[in-house]
Structure formats: structure tokens, C-alpha cells
């Protein structure tokens, strides 16, 4: 048998430089072409503002100048003027955006709820695949719980308190098991739930000590920033998180500067969600004569006076202006880093906010336009012209559109379609849905819910299971000539009402029957 001699070894060694020289060529020949690396070097950057209603943004024609920087961004974007969220609060709204599924499909319909396990793989991060570095950040823990369901598809997960000045979040200390740790500690053991009957934490010793340490940290932060924030530090009423938007956006800027192409990044920012706490530069910015139209109080509202609602609205507008000022800094940083040239940048909201008909907030069964109408601006790589799209769209359309723009296949399970102007065509016969079903059990057919169906200019709202006159009631509006939804056409335009009602009932029955099967 021939032995491998020293002479053979030297011969072989002589071949090594040759192999080194040809290896890049061979590598190019055999390795798969990575989407977004040469022909379409694209990052996907989604910036989401929690509870940001399009109706309160000057970029969409609001009389108060709440969003000058979004207006600047609009000059290089596709601006969607009639974009609705599929849900009216964080859990369903965020889940629909990230999955392209309606709430009645993904079933994340309750407060702090989660999506059904069988659909966990149906998310934007998995759809982009391993070609992309996938990064996620959510200041809102409810959105964080949803992101935690996708933890196997996310490469970098930034803790909800990553850029805070005071925080009592514990889950981040368990990097190998953070989804369970957030849920166990921050949502249960260490949580001081002010809305529950027994608000003290379930962990008597560690929970109390942890909270005392947090309150001490917060007291120091408050003393430093009391002048800067006349209404208190921005934060989350449900969880121990306090921050300055300056710090949060500094964190985002530094994160974005280190982005390696191609990256798919999702940034879920808590403002302008309640509590509305603008900094002193924006506090009292809108003490003006603007008065929104007064609307009749709704029977399902909390009966808040119009004066109080106007006060809340003013604070909300100021908080939006504060967030917008920081967004402007972020846009400048993105520009300087050259990211606008190789990135699709999306600015949107998970749901809106409401200051009318005796109701304030968004966790309401009233699905009027301010609650579901959210901003959507999409800037394509190198885009320098504004493109306005007025056709109705839905948050479930964002996932398929981004996949299409990144040359990725759109999965068949996705319920959304491509957005007009970015690969899709407007279909006037297409109906889209928004819904509130937080009182309905997650895995039971929808029997207590509000469902709004949008088709063209018309919007049909169905109230179901609220008792009294709202046990099963309908309203119909034409948003083209009645954006304030003041004239209920349900009894006057019977043909369109009947047609839309039939379609809504069919869609609801289909969703309920899928659940039973």
C-alpha cells in the first residue's frame, strides 16, 4: 500500500495557493445568491409608534402642526392616506402587522394576550428568512410578549427597557430564557398591578425589594428631570418603565448606525401612548383656538365631558409633537449613515387614539376612524419623491408588501395583499376588517365584539353582544364625504348596507367556523 510520503505532502502543499486563488470564484459559483446583497441591497426598518392616530398628524391634514418631521419624511415616501389597523389596541394591532393575519385568525385579541401556537411560525421575521439579520425592540411589554413568541426567528432582541432612565424590568436578566422570564417576573411575580384587587407583587420579599430599588432609581431620575417634564417622566402605567425620548432615540440612532446590511429591524416605540407627557418644549404648545367637531355621546362610551376630552387631545397632540421632534433626529441620523439609500423605511402605528363621543383612549368597543386610522409611510431605497395613495389599506398588507419588495415569496397563509403603489393594484371590491374583541375569550367564536368592515368609501360597523340596543347593531358611513362619521347611512342606503352586511356575516362565520374545526 502506498504511504503518504513527505514528497507527496510537499506536492499537495504546492496546490494550496492555487486553491486559495480560485476559491472565491468557486464560492460565487456555488453559493446561493443572497437577496438584498448586491442587486437589491436592502434593509427593512419598521418604526412603529404605539397609539398614533393618523387623524392627529399634520402630515395627514390635522390643523395642529404635530408632525413637521413626518411631513419632511413624506417628501421621500409613499404616503397612505386611508390605512387602517386590523386591531384597536396593541396586542391585536401589532400581531396583525407582524403576521399579515386578522385578529380573528391569529387570536391575539385579549389584553396581554398571545397568538395561537399553531400560527407562531407565520411571522414577518421567519418570512424574511436567515438572509436577514433580524432585530426587534418593543418598549410596550404587551408587544414584547408577542415578539417573544417569535424568539426563534429573531436574532437580536433588545429589552423593553434598553434605553430607559428608570426600570424595574427583570426578564432581561435571563438572556437564555427571556420569554418565560418576562412573563413570570414582569407580568406576574414582580408586578404591582394597580388595576387588580390585590395590587401587591406575588413575590413578597424579592418583589418588594426590587420595587423599592426601582422607586429609589425613579425618585433620583424625577429629581433630575422635574423641570424638563412638567407632567412627569414619560413611561408605561402598567410596567415599571420610565424614559426620556431623547435617550430612546439616541439608542435607536446608535443601533441603526451599527446595522449590517441586510437587516430586518422592528422598533416598537411606546409614545404617544397614554400617559401623555410632553417635555417642557412641547408642553402648552397647542394652547390654541382649535376645537374638534362635537359629536353625540355614544351609549358604549365612558361619558367623559367634551371639555375633558379636548384637554386630553391637546396633551396627546403635544406628546406627538415631542415624539416627532425626536423622530426628526432619527431621520437625520439615517440620512447621514446613508441608510435611506439601501433601506426600506416604514413609519406606522399599531392603532389610533380617540377623543370624542364621550370616550378617550383606544381600548374601546367604538371603532370610529381615529381609533383604527393609523399612519403608513414607506420610503423606498433612494426615493426622493412623494407618492400619495388614497385607497383604503390595512395593516395586514404590510407584511406581504415588504416581502415582495425584498424579492421574497409572499406566503400563501397571508391574508393581506400587496399595497397599491408598491406592487399591488387597488381593488374597489376588496373588503378589509378592523376589530375589537378583547372581552371575547381568545379561543371561542366571536360573540362579544365590534367589527368594522371597509370597502371603498364605505365603512360598516357591527356591534355584537354588548346588550341592549348594541346586542346586534349596525352603522354605515361614507368616509369620502363624511370623514367624521356623523351621518349613519345604515337605514338610508339599504342596498350597500345589505350587501356589506352579508359579506361581513359570511367573513365572521368563516372565521368562527375555522376556529371550531
Amino acid at each position: 500500500m502506498h504511504r503518504f510520503s513527505r514528497r507527496d505532502f510537499l506536492k499537495l502543499s504546492a496546490l494550496m495557493p492555487i486553491s486559495a486563488a480560485i476559491s472565491p470564484w468557486v464560492k460565487n459559483l456555488v453559493s446561493p445568491k443572497i437577496v438584498g446583497q448586491d442587486s437589491f441591497p436592502t434593509n427593512i426598518i419598521i418604526i412603529l409608534f404605539d397609539a398614533m392616530s393618523a387623524r392627529n398628524l399634520s402630515v395627514y391634514g390635522y390643523p395642529r402642526n404635530t408632525s413637521p418631521n413626518l411631513m419632511r419624511f413624506a417628501d421621500r415616501s409613499n404616503v397612505y392616506h386611508s390605512h387602517n389597523s386590523a386591531g384597536n389596541f396593541t396586542v391585536p394591532g401589532t400581531t396583525s402587522l407582524l403576521t399579515g393575519l386578522y385578529p380573528w385568525t391569529h387570536r391575539a385579541i385579549n389584553e396581554a394576550g398571545l397568538m395561537t401556537r399553531e400560527f407562531i411560525g407565520r411571522n414577518i421575521f421567519r418570512s424574511f428568512g436567515g438572509h436577514y439579520k433580524r432585530l426587534a425592540f418593543a418598549q410596550n411589554l404587551y408587544a414584547g410578549f408577542i415578539l417573544n413568541q417569535f424568539d426563534k426567528d429573531i436574532d437580536i432582541y433588545l429589552s423593553p427597557d434598553a434605553f430607559n432612565i428608570a426600570s424595574g424590568i427583570v426578564g432581561r436578566r435571563f438572556p437564555n430564557d427571556f420569554p418565560s422570564a418576562y412573563r413570570s417576573f414582569d407580568d406576574f411575580l414582580f408586578k404591582f398591578d394597580k388595576e387588580s384587587l390585590k395590587p401587591a407583587s406575588a413575590s413578597l420579599i424579592f418583589g418588594t425589594i426590587e420595587r423599592l430599588l426601582f422607586l429609589r432609581q425613579l425618585a433620583v431620575a424625577k429629581s433630575i428631570y422635574s423641570q424638563e417634564f412638567p407632567l412627569g417622566l414619560p413611561g408605561d402605567d402598567n410596567y415599571p418603565i420610565y424614559y426620556r425620548l431623547e435617550d430612546v432615540f439616541d439608542g435607536l440612532i446608535s443601533t441603526m448606525k451599527n446595522i449590517k446590511t441586510p437587516t430586518a429591524a422592528y422598533f416598537h416605540l411606546f409614545p404617544p401612548h397614554e400617559p401623555y407627557r410632553p417635555s417642557k418644549d412641547f408642553f402648552a404648545k397647542f394652547f390654541d383656538n382649535y376645537l374638534p367637531p362635537t359629536k353625540p355621546e355614544h351609549a358604549l362610551s365612558h361619558g367623559i365631558s367634551q371639555t375633558a376630552l379636548n384637554g386630553h387631545r391637546r396633551r396627546y397632540d403635544e406628546y406627538i409633537a415631542y415624539a416627532d421632534s425626536q423622530l426628526g433626529r432619527l431621520f437625520d441620523a439615517i440620512e447621514q449613515a446613508g441608510l435611506f439609500e439601501n433601506s426600506i423605511v416604514v413609519v406606522t402605528g399599531d392603532h389610533g387614539e380617540f377623543f370624542e363621543r364621550g370616550e378617550q383612549g383606544h381600548a374601546t368597543p367604538l371603532l370610529y376612524d381615529p381609533v383604527v386610522h393609523v399612519p403608513l409611510l414607506i420610503s423606498m431605497p433612494g426615493q426622493n419623491k412623494r407618492n400619495d395613495i388614497y385607497e383604503p389599506t390595512n395593516s395586514i398588507d404590510v407584511l406581504p408588501t415588504l416581502l415582495h419588495l425584498a424579492n421574497q415569496p409572499v406566503p400563501s397563509w397571508c391574508e393581506g395583499t400587496l399595497l397599491p403603489g408598491l406592487g399591488g393594484d387597488y381593488d374597489p371590491q376588496r373588503s378589509t376588517f378592523s376589530m375589537d374583541a378583547k372581552l371575547n375569550p381568545a379561543f371561542a367564536p366571536l360573540r362579544t365584539a365590534t367589527i368594522a368592515m371597509r370597502r371603498g368609501a364605505y365603512k360598516l360597523i357591527r356591534y355584537l353582544g354588548y346588550g341592549g340596543e348594541y346586542e346586534d347593531a349596525y352603522e354605515l358611513y361614507n368616509l369620502d364625504n363624511d370623514i367624521e362619521e356623523m351621518n349613519d347611512l345604515y337605514t338610508s342606503e339599504t342596498a350597500i348596507a345589505s350587501q356589506m352586511k352579508t359579506e361581513l356575516l359570511e367573513a365572521l362565520n368563516a372565521a368562527n367556523s375555522r376556529l371550531k374545526s
Binding site: R117, A200, I205, T208
Partner: protein, 136 residues
């Protein structure tokens, strides 16, 4: 949440309570070591039980006070912690000297042993589960 996820949350809760219990026990043993033997060691069962019950009761008070206030630091309560702690210690020491109270707490501690048999293995297993999930 599905059953598996609920079980994991329970494991975290049990493991946390297990470590909390060990911490309380170690604190008690530490106090026992540093104090003269006849103050606490000789009446460990009765005075120790009372010490733990009063301390946990005080923690409950602090916890509920925090919960009912809007994220403000409870300066007054924190300032009083050493004083109340000393008061609890003295009270525990005195009770150890009163015959019928001593007997009462001994009986109570005797009956509470059943919880030890239930929670110790559950707590230990939960602790192992949490460790395993965070190491591997």
C-alpha cells in the same frame, strides 16, 4: 398560554419562593449566630417563628403601601425599617419568654412542617427546571 407555558411560569414562581424561603431562613440563622444563645437559639422555634411571621407581615405592609401609591419612593417607611425591625426582634425575644405564647408558636410551627414537606421538593425541582432553562 398553553399548559407547558403555564407550568414554566409556575416553576419560576416556585423557584423564586424557594430561594426567598432559603433567604429568610439564612437571615434567621445569621441573627441566631450573632445574638447570645439564650436570646434566640434556646427558644428558636417559638421566637424564630414569630420573627419570621412579623417580618413577613411588615413586608406585606410595605408591599401594599407601594402598590397603593403612584410610583413615589416611600421615604418615611424606608426610614422606619430599622426601628420596626428592632421592635420585631425585641417582640420575638419577649414572646420566647412567655410560656403559653411559646407553646402556641411551637404548636403552630409543628403544624406548619407539612408545608415544608410539600414545598421543599416542589421548590427544589422548580429551581432545577429554571436553572436548566437558563443554562442550556
Amino acid at each position: 398560554m398553553n399548559m407547558g407555558e403555564i407550568a414554566i411560569v409556575i416553576a419560576y414562581a416556585m423557584a423564586t419562593n424557594f430561594i426567598e424561603s432559603l433567604t429568610a431562613l439564612l437571615m434567621l440563622l445569621f441573627i441566631c449566630v450573632i445574638l447570645p444563645a439564650k436570646w434566640l437559639r434556646d427558644v428558636f422555634l417559638s421566637s424564630g417563628s414569630l420573627l419570621v411571621i412579623l417580618s413577613l407581615g411588615y413586608m406585606m405592609y410595605i408591599s401594599s403601601h407601594i402598590a397603593s401609591n403612584d410610583d413615589s419612593y416611600p421615604t418615611n417607611i424606608v426610614r422606619l425599617i430599622p426601628v420596626v425591625g428592632l421592635l420585631i426582634l425585641v417582640l420575638a425575644f419577649l414572646v420566647g419568654r412567655i410560656g403559653f405564647l411559646q407553646k402556641l408558636f411551637e404548636e403552630l410551627a409543628d403544624r406548619a412542617v407539612i408545608f415544608f414537606y410539600i414545598f421543599l421538593p416542589l421548590g427544589f425541582i422548580s429551581f432545577l427546571v429554571v436553572m436548566a432553562r437558563n443554562i442550556f
